[in-house]
Symmetry: C2
Subunit: 112 residues, 2 copies
DNA sequence: ACAGCATATTCCCATGCTGGAATACGTCAA
DNA sequence: TTGACGTATTCCAGCATGGGAATATGCTGT
């Protein structure tokens, strides 16, 4: 089977750098219509719409119709699984001291 | 252009659930030879080797030859960019109180 | 040298992607 | 209505994927 669709989950959705850009932008600018994103990201409008479609499918963003505009809003809690997963590894780069701890915790199975 | 190769960066590499499984396993069991991973993950050996190849290209794991075995070790600091990126959104789901803060910080540009 | 184990690589396939261009859709103003 | 705007969808292309099967490589003991 081929690579999983980008709409499978948040992990797949955020693999695309442009989609992370969109997320970052929505986080800093707040809910925005598509046109604003197009202007700031300097991407073709269809490209932005398609990326938004993926993010929408995964639930990372939500839409609201406002006249002929569509206002996209970030729904960041869908990113929590990613944070949860990667946070387990934070200790690996936090302090040098942790190296000692890690050796003890991991203790390659050969140990008695 | 098609989707970026999985070897492009850590974001693309970890989109595959099996590769996250391998990372998790290396983290908890410590450096391990391929055979151990194959046995525990119950995946065909070539599949594991291929996934390890991707992780190796991105730098998430490192290999060490030990006789006829190859011992793979986690190099978790390559996951830091992911942690850094997603941590910016932690506040969105931490405390309910943050909702108030967030509204103030984001203040959709229309505001005076 | 040889057999056997541990691992990597190659080949094939069906699928789904991203970008670009063109086009369709829905809404507002006159 | 009609036209114009904002946005979404469709069609096309090239391409890398992950799985399976088969095979190649490398090391070890005898």
């Amino acid at each position: 089977m081929p690579r999983a669709p980008t709409t499978t989950d948040a992990f797949n959705a955020i693999a695309e750098p442009r989609r992370r850009d969109i997320i970052d932008l929505l986080a800093s600018a707040g809910p925005s219509p598509v046109g604003d994103l197009v202007q700031i990201l300097k991407l073709p409008q269809p490209a932005v719409s398609k990326h938004l479609g993926v993010l929408r499918d995964v639930g990372i963003v939500a839409v609201q119709r406002k006249g002929r505009h569509r206002v996209y809003e970030l729904n960041a809690k869908t990113l929590k699984p990613i944070h949860d997963w990667v946070s387990a590894y934070e200790r690996f780069w936090m302090h040098q001291l942790n190296r000692i701890k890690l050796r003890a915790e991991q203790s390659p199975k050969g140990k008695v």
